[in-house]
Every structure is written in C-alpha cells, then in structure tokens.
Symmetry: none
Subunit: 239 residues, 2 copies
DNA sequence: TTTAGTGATTTGTCTAGTTGTATAGATGCG
DNA sequence: CGCATCTATACAACTAGACAAATCACTAAA
C-alpha cells in the first residue's frame, strides 16, 4: 500500500486551514499555482486535493475566478400566512403506503430531542414507501415514542394507516407542527427505493406531530422524488 | 468532454426569450453589463453568447448604441426548445433581496394564465437574488400585471421591498395562494448565482399572490439553494 | 431654432490571470 | 509487466480590468 498520498496530505492541510478559520466562507483560496508552489508539487496534484474538498462541499471552484470557501447553511422563513391545506399528498392521487420495516430500538440523540425523550428511550421506527399508481414517489421514516404508544407496531402491521393506529393507542387526534422542507441529493439506497438516479434531486420533509396535550407523538422524515412530486400549499388546485 | 458551456446556455436562454416574444424585432436588448449581471457572468461571456446570436442573424449590435433584435420576420430556431430554465422568482415576503433585472414586456401564456390576463398583456418582470447575511440563498423571478400596477418598476427600483412597492401602487395587502414545492437540479446559470455546483439540489417554489379582492397581483418562482435553505412551515394543521 | 459641445453610456478590443480538460511521460511498487 | 501516482505541457473557457470608439441625452451658445 502506498504510504501517505501527497494529494491527501495536501487536502488535509487545506481542511485544517479551513477548520482553523484561516479562510472564511466566501473567501478566495490562493490560486492553484500558488498552492502548487507552496506544497512544491504539480498543479494537478493540488487540483486533486481541491477536487476532494469540492466533493465534500467545502469549497466551490469557478473557472477563471478562483476557488472559494463554500457558504454556510441558512434557514429561510416562509410567510406567516402559509399553511398546509393539502398536506403531503402528491398530485391529488390517492396515496398508497407500503411498510418496509418496523422495529423498536433506542432513540438516537436527534430523535430523542425531537420527541422530547431521554436519550436511550425506546422508539418504534417505521420505514416504508409512498406509492401513487404503483409507482414509488416517496420514502418515509416515522419515529414514535414507545412509552406513549406501546402496542403501535402490531396495529401498524395490521393496518398501515397512521391515524387509525394512533387511535388504537389512545391518541384520538394529533397535529403537525414545524415542518421543515429542503432539497437534497438522493443517496444510493434512497435512489434504489425511489427508482431514480443517485444524486437526483429529492425533497425532504421533516415534521413533528403532537397530540392535543402538546406531547410529541411522531417524528417523521419523508423523501420525495423531486421529479415526481410537487407539494401544494394552499387552496388552489391546478393540475 | 466539456460539460455545459456557460456562454452556450446563456445563448439558449436569450434565444428562448426571443422565441417567447419577450423582445420584438427592432427592440433593444438589455446592455451587456445588465445581461452579465442577470446571468452572473463576465461581460465577455455574454459577448460570446451575443456574438453567437449575431452570427445566426438573430440580433445586430451597434457600438455605442446597443444590441437590437433583427428586423427580419424571423425564422426562430424553435426546433426542440420549449421551456428553458432562465426562470427565477419570489417567494418569501421577508428577507433581503437584490434586483438583477427589471423589465416590462408582454406576458407569455403561462404568465397570462397564472395572473388571469389576456395573452399579450403587459407585465413587469423582476429577477433577483435573495440574500441572508449577504450570501445568496435563492433566486427569484416575479411577474406583476402592468395594468393593475402601472408604476411598480419605479417603486421597486427605489426600494426592493415588494410589500411597500405594492402599497405604493394601491395594494395594501396581499396573500399567497397555491404554493407549489418541488426539488430540482440546479442549472448552470442558477448554480452560478447561488454559488453551488451545477446539478446540486434546488428547492423550487411557485406561487401566486392575490389581493383582498382575489385578483392575482404576483406570479413568482423561487429557486432556493437546497444545501443552504430550509423552509419552515410554522403553524399547526391536521395531518 | 439650430448648432456645437460636453459627459455619460455602450459596444469593441486588448492584455493578463485562473480554472478545466486532454495528452503524454516519469516514477515507484507488487 | 500492470497499475496507480505524480509530473509536464498545452490549450480551452472564463474572469478581471482597462481603454478606445461610437452613440445618445442634455445643455449652452449662436
């Protein structure tokens, strides 16, 4: 096996520079020629390191301009009047749901935070497909607190309707709060399920639902195939 | 194997504009500097695209005066074009924005339908960037009916706030209806504006806003950088 | 009113620098 | 040898900036 690869050590050095805050978001890195001189290597070797950083989303190169540090994420609030009238149903067709897996395990930190549980508390995790006309349009993963909904998996297995399963567990009503939407690139596994190309655009929805006592009962994430689904917010139905 | 050449995609966008009738024979195109700003590109790159159109006999450039659409009754290469990307648009009412271009022209069929106008009616078209902390997070394109909002461009130029500009035109309030969300891949020009990689996931929002009399006053589309933006739908609603 | 002039705007041209891509060769290693 | 890494060179695409030349809008003078 080759000892430390030169381009990799250069990439590490550059990442260290970024981590040290030596270059801030939007800043221009030294030119490839300058970096090549600094590390005393060929420009292509520097390019391989930079390409590694670009793949990781740390930098962005613009031909003729230079290589720039990537911007940091930001939240963007929608107008206050926006509401979900027609929730995450795709293009009006009747949604079908197919459960792929249903297990009970300890919650990770994100799930515990979302459901306001102690870390390590048990949760039911249900993963499955959303179908329209027998075509996969979305992939979902829902997490439910086991303590609040002990018998949920049995009900869900018998009937995939979340509403009825929750009702059987004593949750007569629940409402969605804080839906977050963003665009992502499909991972390999997701792409397989949705029958799309890896890296294709995917609309990710993360939501938390609460019962009338404001206790979280569901932490759900859904990935929609971007080219197959349009979420409609509001009252107008057009196509 | 070069990927999409920027000057070529700009040329295609301009040809699409011509084919859509946004500029008629004899009309003056925006200046090279304005086009450069609109496509976020160097003036030379715009010049290369324009030179391509000039070679094809679609436009004619006059030093000191501008670039004009050729008078020839035109056989536009409508080969397989149809609907290109050069679209941006507005979504949120809050937030900082920077206007890249602001023109008044005849509405195409989609715009006329959305705003319930007769085809050929004049519309104001505003394209620009949404910013957060001086970083671009979204691209917008908003279309307004000229008949309802005659002086809008002047107000928008003085103050990019849509709310205040509409108020100055007599629209005291407006609400959004029928917001459509889907995930797309960033086109070359969009990627440049948003400082993301070509093909990176983008969240597209298409919306129509109406005044209290239910008359459409804005038809907007916004492309959000998927890595940088999360849309937050705050309120509660049934699931 | 007409003319000339002034300054801003716009296209045309030039030089230089930077990243993207392609091809070929050198080097080290199993 | 076969393969991966790195080097070397050349060119294309795009950016950046500066300046010249043509045009236009406006003003002042004849």
């Amino acid at each position: 096996m080759p000892r430390t690869l030169i381009w990799k050590s250069i990439a590490d050095a550059l990442i260290a520079d970024l981590a040290a805050g030596h270059y801030g978001p939007g800043d221009k890195l030294p030119t490839e020629a300058q970096l090549a001189a600094r590390f005393d290597v060929n420009r292509h070797t520097v390019r391989r390191a930079l390409s590694h950083l670009a793949d990781a989303g740390l930098v962005l190169a613009r031909r003729g301009a230079g290589v720039f540090v990537a911007e940091t994420p930001t939240d963007y609030p929608l107008g206050k009047r926006v509401r979900f009238h027609q929730n995450l149903a795709a293009s009006g067709r009747e949604g079908e749901k197919r459960i792929l897996s249903l297990i009970t395990r300890a919650a990770d930190s994100d799930e515990a935070t979302a459901l306001k549980l102690d870390q390590g508390a048990l949760v039911h995790v249900c993963e499955g497909l959303l179908l329209a006309d027998d075509k996969p349009i979305g992939l979902f993963r829902s997490v439910y607190p086991e303590a609040r909904l002990p018998g949920l998996p049995r009900f869900l297995n018998a009937d995939p309707s979340v509403t009825r399963a929750l009702a059987n567990c004593g949750v007569d009503d629940y409402t969605r709060t804080s839906t977050r939407l963003t665009a992502k690139s499909a991972k390999a596994v997701q792409a397989r399920h949705l029958n799309i190309a890896e890296g294709a655009p995917v609309l990710r929805s993360v939501s938390i639902s609460i019962d009338p006592q404001n206790i979280p009962v569901e932490f759900g994430t859904t990935w929609f195939a971007g080219d197959r689904v349009t979420l409609v917010l509001g009252d107008d139905q057009r196509n």
